[in-house]
Symmetry: D2
Subunit: 133 residues, 4 copies
């Protein structure tokens, strides 16, 4: 079936490039699937949500492994997101989500990350490495 | 802060009705947040995803408890969603998601469910019980 | 089919309460479906996205009408979200989304809103009115 | 700022590969953002939703153009998704969504699509072309 799937791509693209394309797909799928999930600054809550999205993305084609970490988020002095009252929680966003995905497509391994870059004010997705197996 | 929030509602509505309103909000939030998450027919994967969404929804206002179950899904003889090949998986949908949410708002407890109803071909959300504490 | 759906609810609940329950469902569905959509501070872009989510939610049961407005969002002096560079945009969130939904269930009309409340630091969903037709 | 962003990638990757990576990101973002949106088989509804997601994805970095089409979906004789009753509608999924995205990163143009492939039972994302400008 991988052979079949290969046929849909332009013949101009290499296996290495398909590995990189699949990496982009998975980082964006991970980000947009978990983005907006309610969350509080509590270790067990953050761990459960991180493990749920990891298990989900690991179902997708060519995914070898996924790491997800949700970091604490504070905005100013007044928001601790610790459920000190019913409305005191936040959500998973580019600012508190860090993830790494490893793709293997044929004999290429592509590793990429999404993480918040303060200088860009942006949750940057980037290719960390691409290596031949 | 609950007092403050109460003021936004029409004065016509009762606490019992607000409990029911909050129940509707949480069932829909749960459904739409996890809908579309990739999934395969493997117990550990389904459990991780179910626990992640449970942990997330339990952060929301007035949520007392959440139960989530993801059931197996087969369509025809050829689709088993067991990762027999890279493309053989499915996603969380109205057909394989069952959840129950318990809300406590002031002295009212509202319990509701979402589950697939074959007669309606629809993932029905409904109020299971509303009781005074 | 509405008759059939009625049977799933606890016999304790009234038609008025089901209208309120359905209102909660729709406000949360709307919010979570459009939350996280990329957006820039440009009238046409915001209007297209608002109309898309309106058209979608109007497909759901008992929805009579939907109004959606996406307001401008600025954070500090340096972020204008006007695509002054490739990374200068933001996303639909509780802070820039306002919506109103009108439900008719049998002879009850329920109207509710979601809008940002600075005092709660929260996108509050509330019942604006409930009236008998 | 594009210069700054370039620095996050492994020095091993070329501009052509970054264009392909960005293409993967955008196809997946588009797919996961609109997936699950309620929809009925009505031209105006489908057009509004398609235009909303197009406007949203066009805000993202390096996106030159986006085309989105939502096709009709029927399952068996009894489901027409025309709102013949309150529950008779469906949602945007891999089966009824077709989209094409064009990325320009520096002097490379990458075009890709997502569309349903019956032979794979899968909404395939693929690279249609990659050309130097």
């Amino acid at each position: 079936m991988e052979e079949l799937a290969r046929d849909y791509h332009s013949p101009d693209v290499t296996d290495r490039e398909i590995a990189i394309f699949e990496l982009g797909i998975k980082l964006a799928a991970l980000f947009h699937l978990v983005f907006g999930a309610p969350i509080k600054n509590d270790e067990e809550t953050k761990k459960s949500i991180a493990e749920g999205i990891k298990a989900s993305i690991e179902c997708q084609p060519f995914v070898k492994s996924v790491k997800v970490e949700i970091t604490d988020l504070k905005e100013g002095m007044s928001h601790h997101y610790t459920k000190s009252n019913e409305y005191d929680y936040t959500y998973v966003s580019g600012k508190n989500l860090q993830a790494e995905v490893e793709i293997v497509y044929r004999n290429w391994k592509a590793v990429g990350r999404v993480q918040w870059m303060s200088d860009l004010n942006y949750p940057m997705m980037f290719i960390k490495s691409i290596t031949q197996l």
